[in-house]
Subunit: 888 residues, 2 copies
């Protein structure tokens, strides 16, 4: 393979992509092309990284030659030279993967320095302190990253030296101090590795490049890729860039900034900087930085240039940029640019604003907001009316409210997650090592760090509420406790955090639903124009129906009627019905239930007037309405032991008998849905009477009703035809009695594999199909949710026995194949067939993309997810359109 | 539609088929073509019948015209005329469907007779008794079938007249008597229908043809078609045939005969006849007939001609024929010929003999024996060593032994069947009305009737053991009891019948397996040459393996290992293993079980030396080995109430806790098979160690072993790979320890729909697939066998919600589609993949035909079904071959 090493201004056009250059390299190359002040440097492509791994993690002559050749060019362009006491060239060696993996891989700074150059720098600049501070920084990073000396050992040496010398912090360490530290660092390396710190810059460079390649496989990078589903095969690029010094003099500094406010989306400068500091000092959150606006006072020329660069970058990348810069003796250098992570609110506002600014189209704006971000906007918030004294206040790093038990360690976070507990990870600050703990937590709270600290960046990316820098809190990780305002909270105590306001509360605060309005409403209106899929809601009550309407549902795709039997005051009658011996007796009790259900149906149909309401007739097996076997068995056993209360015993024995009669070995595959109706048709008859009477009476009152009746669990066309016959006969009788005409539909869920496989036949008799992906997934995998999902799924995902939880995101290969067969063959047979989905995947954006692609007509999901589904449906259709356009 | 009415010798060649002419018409036309003595007549095709239904059960002018035209031809050919006192033409109007439905539809005899003709016949023949007996027979049938007067009313008149006149039986009724009966019959018709008996022969004819058409939809015909899966859309043909009279004089008679013995298959004349009788007298079993050989003495010329005709017919139809004949005044007439029903023994012998006689090829011989018949030969027989006094002896009408509770009515038979009880239907005689009861029974026993009586014919067809004419038994249906030799047996008492010997025993007799030898062995050897599918057996014990080998199995396709955990003496250790808290502790108990399982494996592998043995690793969930929840819950509750036995209570509570931990809502879709191994890999490890140690030790002793290890419940390729890794690592370690090399395979069951849908991926890593159609069917339908099959399947089949029980015969449309996908995609990906089936359908002939067609490599079934599977596999391949040849 030809060696791919390119100066920033010499990259072949075909290679200018994030995939080849990595995100960082791509940004640097693009900025160079735009004529922005980027320090000179070159990039080694991701292909080289993968080749490196293929060769057993070894450099090879051709690559080394090419690197050295580029070093020569760099020397020529900068006028500096490696190991040249006069004009020494120092470089940074930075990782940069195609997908952003902030802080996950390694970077070596100040490479090229050695004893001789440190000395020369010292005498040339007259600043020995700067020279040796730079040298010790190099040794520290190089020693840890390239020579594998544990980082803490360097920290210990430095801490001990500061104690000995009475230095309060790094800034107060003297030039001699740094010289001493350098000496001790070198001794450490010698002792720990048996090798000397290499003095030859080219040797340093080759070693550092190899180490950066290798950092692709370090533990936290692997972990991060697992969490974010990033392919292991991408590899990282390496950027070798001339050093510029934010710690050089009083006109020097370094900072990070966003072109807009990543928290609110406002179009205003946003960022932080530290004077006299190198990059990692800002990000690590060790010193508290100043807002970037104050750079105007300190280095006005650099500030103005930065502002102008912001504009150029947004114009070029058509998105908000997240940049790193350094000012060296008053001169601005751009060290990085990338599309910035942002809060959900900001994402929506930026997308809308940019469309209004004509930077992007409305379609692009709709594509720009991630469904996950929108979802976060719909997260519950702490009720503003709730009165409570906050425990502490920190920086609002990632919005949303979260309630959970306090945990202090990654291990505790992970084990609590396995028990499905809600948890808040509380740490002094977070580091890349904490990534698994953050992933496991519902929210994160730290006592240190700023808005761009590790915890803040990572949680924003994951969409988890986060508060950073709540400095009042004294956290003692070893004791699993935190102190604040004289109170002590222990591991396991409940707290509530509001990442939008930065407020921390003890205990559980009341949460409220946010309303959809303003920017979000506007974005969703755009989305509605672009989508093909209808979005319906699953709603069983008038309240849910109301919520669904508010959130833009175009009807109800699933109204489960179980609740209409299950509510306390009806359960007694339902049980009598089940205990009855004959159909006549059952009918008597059903007649008592009917008026109640009729009322329920009336309320829902009224709430959804003008829109279709899909009502699923009773689906669950009858034993679900009886007492639990264990309870009644214990009761009967106790009564028998007592040898008294014979009336109660007789009654309980009767119930036990019936519970045993109705007991099923595998209720999920038992007498449910349509099977129930075949044995007890009177139940369907009662329900259809209640529905059609409700509809007829509303219709007479001028309400526009569109009832659709849905049969569940169908496996054979015969079942469906039989059920449809019951439904039609009953419905037509009622409509005839009322003398009104209402057009209603009768359809079926497709939730058994066989229904999908024989959809062609069923489609002849059905008005609509609705995929019940929960049950369909269960049967297709033969995975009982109750048994397998809860107990085995974490293990399955952990061990990659399955890509994703198929109950959350449709399993394309298995279940999806059935969905696809049923949709195409069903529609082929019955041109009027309407096809939708009402399982949990109906509200999942990835699944929605599949459903859109597969040609479904609608998705139905929880009322709360309706806005997400609207956006996802639009994005699915737009992606399809753009993909089609790009292949023309 | 053009009217299709044809004289027997004028049928267009293209219409000469059973489908168009019905079975009876086809036989008559073929015999006419062969120049055999068939009475003149014409046939109205089945197409006319269906057209008749399409036209709302009405005749139409064109058809009527064509019928009348054929009557004219008939008159010309016979020299007789309708309503001609000199030479009156009388005809029979006979139904005849494409598929044999003996006695299910209606026939009118002696049509054309009326007052005038009866009188004329009487004076012309000088036999008034014959004339009026003939007339009353006509009125009786015509009144019942065409004019819908209940048959019993005619019977009552006749019985009453016989009482009045002192006539013992029909033969002793005088000419005047029949005249009186005719008078009373005509009065009955007038009274019951308000109409006169039609006197015009053409009017009689049209009415009778319509009635015969309509009899396609009578209750028992519908029932019969349901039982035999005959399509409702076939319709019946109608044959109008000149009457000949078996009751004409002393040289007249009528009989039925087979060209070979339908019970043994011997090549000898077999049949029965009655002198001076019409056809229905023989079949109804009312008078006991004489063997056909005795016709030689009574009408030698007719007998000789009959024998010669037998030869002609077999030569023509290449099969044993079942014929009806009548001798009128010494002249033989052939009234019917069809392929004869036969016992299983006979079927095998006839097929072999005919092949040896070169009447048919070996391939045809193999196709000639129905798998159902072979199956019957494998039925258990009463142990010949068992000593018991028979209760009664009757005619051995259909072979095989059956044990069951006595029932006397169709209703009782049906309700007992629903409860899955074994039953013997006991009746004085059976009529077509009893068909549903016969279908429900395990065997039939009658006190009247001969070898060709209704019960005998029907049970032979169904393959149910039957004894007829056990005349010692006095059956009192109204009292639900029977008396024999002074003993009284009641409904519900157990009896054993041996349809091979005709012996009836009280109580349950010991039964034995028949051996496969002689003709059956010879036929199966031929079959083995023609089949492509391998036939393996499901066997869990050395005894079953032995049986499988005897029956010709080519290996073991499924050795379930559950039993190796479940036997009493191991269960205690297994429970300790399950109650253990750690993998180490579990391993300790598993080590105790290992030597026992190793012994099991050794015995099976040894028994199957030289043949593959597919061993399925533990499949069932662990809770199956623990006490039942109900039992332990009651025990704990009782101990708690007693407030003592605290040690026992503690122990029981521990067990209850673990039972509850392991409890599953839907165990069928729970922690089974491969899922179990992921949580408890040590179980697989132990099993694989036991298998490979057994194999290695046998190998060292020179035994040729071919272990194949099978993983169950796989839904994702990841699961299989993980399990395969455990198996291979363990197996290779053991083989290494023993220093032997054994090539073993690792494969998977395909029993979740997802495994089938993603078979392509799984095939990359599997050596073989084995469809577990039981579980696959459960999941595909979402039908739990335990809950749905037992409770709902009869209702489903009754109501045609499903064609057949999919657990017995593969559901082609749903499950079959998955089988087909997995087979073709799996083999496409992995050319070496071996594909088989080990579910219950693996032994079902219909399913085997599907599996052969679909390209599977083997089927595996119960050792007892192996011979059936061998035959079915051969037939499947031969049918395919012949079908392919016929389309060339």
């Amino acid at each position: 393979m030809k060696a791919e090493v390119f100066l920033f201004d010499e990259v072949p056009k075909k290679d200018i992509s994030k995939k080849v250059l990595g995100g960082k390299g791509f940004g640097l190359v693009e900025m160079t092309k735009l004529g922005l002040p980027v320090p000179a440097g070159f990039v080694i492509t991701t292909n080289m990284c993968n080749e490196f791994f293929k060769k057993g993690k070894r450099m090879w002559p051709e690559l080394e030659k090419s690197i050295l050749n580029n070093v020569l060019k760099l020397e020529r362009n900068t006028g500096k030279k490696f190991d040249d006491a006069g004009k020494p060239l120092l470089v940074s060696v930075r990782s940069g993967a195609p997908m952003s993996m902030p802080g996950m891989m390694d970077t070596v700074l100040n490479l090229g320095i050695n004893d001789r150059i440190a000395e020369a720098l010292s005498s040339k600049t007259g600043d020995a302190r700067f020279a040796y501070d730079t040298y010790r920084r190099f040794i520290q990073l190089f020693g840890k990253i390239v020579m594998n000396v544990p980082g803490e050992k360097f920290d210990t040496i430095l801490e001990r030296y500061k104690e000995e010398s009475g230095a309060k912090n790094d800034v107060s360490v003297s030039a001699e101090g740094w010289q001493e530290v350098v000496k001790r660092y070198k001794e450490l390396i010698k002792k720990d590795t048996g090798k000397e710190l290499p003095q030859e810059p080219r040797e340093q460079l080759m070693m550092a490049i190899g180490a950066v390649f290798n950092s692709w496989w370090n533990q936290r990078a692997i972990e991060y890729r697992k969490i974010y589903n990033i392919s292991d095969s991408l590899g990282t690029a390496v950027n070798v860039v001339m050093m510029v010094y934010g710690n050089f003099d009083d006109k020097s500094g370094t900072g990070v900034a966003f072109t807009r406010d990543p928290s609110t989306g406002e179009k205003k400068v946003y960022g932080e900087f530290l004077m006299k500091a190198q990059g990692e000092d800002v990000v690590a959150g060790i010193r508290t930085p100043e807002p970037v606006s104050r750079l105007r006072e300190q280095v006005p020329k650099a500030y103005d240039e930065l502002m102008s660069i912001f504009k150029t970058l947004e114009g070029h990348f058509k998105d908000m940029q997240d940049i790193e810069f350094t000012v060296e003796s008053g001169k601005l250098y751009m060290l990085q640019t990338r599309n910035g992570k942002r809060t959900a609110n900001a994402a929506v506002k930026i997308a809308l604003d940019m469309a209004k600014e004509k930077l992007i189209s409305k379609e692009e704006a709709v594509l720009r907001v991630e469904t996950g971000q929108l979802e976060r906007l719909l997260y519950k918030q702490i009720d503003k009316n709730a009165k409570a004294e906050p425990l502490a206040k920190g920086l609002p790093a990632a919005p949303g409210a979260a309630i959970g038990k306090i945990v202090f360690t990654v291990e505790d976070a992970q084990s609590a997650r396995k028990k499905n507990e809600k948890i808040i990870l509380v740490r002094p600050e977070t580091t890349p090592e904490d990534i698994a703990g953050i992933a496991a937590a519902d929210g994160v709270l730290t006592s240190r760090g700023g808005m761009t600290s590790h915890a803040a960046v990572v949680t924003r990316g994951m969409g988890k509420p986060c508060i950073v820098g709540a400095e009042e809190m004294k956290i003692d990780v070893r004791r699993d406790s935190l102190n604040v305002k004289g109170k002590t909270l222990k591991k396991g105590d409940m707290i509530t955090i509001d990442g939008g306001s930065g407020l921390v509360f003890a205990g559980e605060m009341p949460l409220v639903e946010p309303k959809i309005s303003g920017d979000v409403a506007a974005l969703l209106e755009w989305a509605d124009k672009f989508r093909r899929l209808q979005v319906m809601a699953n709603a069983d009550t008038p309240e849910m129906a109301e919520k669904a309407r508010q959130n833009g549902a175009q009807g109800i795709g699933l109204d489960r009627t179980e609740r209409m039997f299950n509510v306390q005051e009806r359960l007694d009658i339902v049980r009598k019905m089940i205990l009855a011996g004959t159909a006549e007796e059952r009918r008597k009790y059903l007649d008592e239930i009917k008026p109640m259900q009729k009322g329920d149906f009336k309320n829902i149909l009224k709430a959804m007037h003008g829109l279709p309401v899909t009502i699923r007739l009773l689906d669950v097996p009858l034993h679900e309405f009886l007492p639990k076997l264990d309870d009644i068995l214990v009761k009967v056993t106790e009564l028998r032991m007592k040898r008294k209360g014979s009336e109660e015993l007789k009654e309980s024995e009767k119930v036990l008998r019936r519970v045993n009669e109705l007991r099923e070995y595998n209720p999920m595959m038992g007498q449910r849905g349509v099977r129930l109706s075949l044995m007890y048709p009177e139940i369907y008859v009662m329900q259809v009477e209640a529905i059609m009477e409700a509809a007829a009476e509303l219709k007479k009152d001028g309400v526009d009703v569109e009832p659709e009746i849905m049969i569940s669990q169908v496996a054979t066309v015969g079942e469906f035809r039989k059920a449809r016959e019951i439904v039609e006969k009953t419905a037509d009788r009622i409509l005839n009695d009322y003398g009104v005409s209402i057009s209603y539909k009768v359809g079926t869920m497709i939730e058994t594999p066989r229904a999908a496989l024989t959809a062609k036949t069923i489609a002849e008799y059905a008005d609509f199909f609705s995929f019940g992906t929960n049950d369909l997934t269960q049967a297709t995998f033969a995975f009982s949710r109750d048994d397998v999902e809860s107990k085995l799924m974490p293990f399955y995902i952990e061990n990659k026995l399955i890509a994703e939880n198929p109950f959350g995101t449709l399993d394309y290969d298995g279940v999806g194949r059935l969905v696809s067969i049923a949709t195409s063959e069903g529609k082929d047979k019955n041109k009027k067939l309407v096809v939708g989905v009402c399982g949990e995947t109906g509200g999942d954006p990835k699944s929605i993309e599949f459903f859109n692609e597969t040609g479904l007509d609608y998705v139905s999901c929880s009322p709360y997810r309706v806005p997400v589904a609207r956006l996802a449906a639009a994005q699915a259709e737009l992606k399809k359109k753009f993909a089609a356009a790009s292949t023309v």
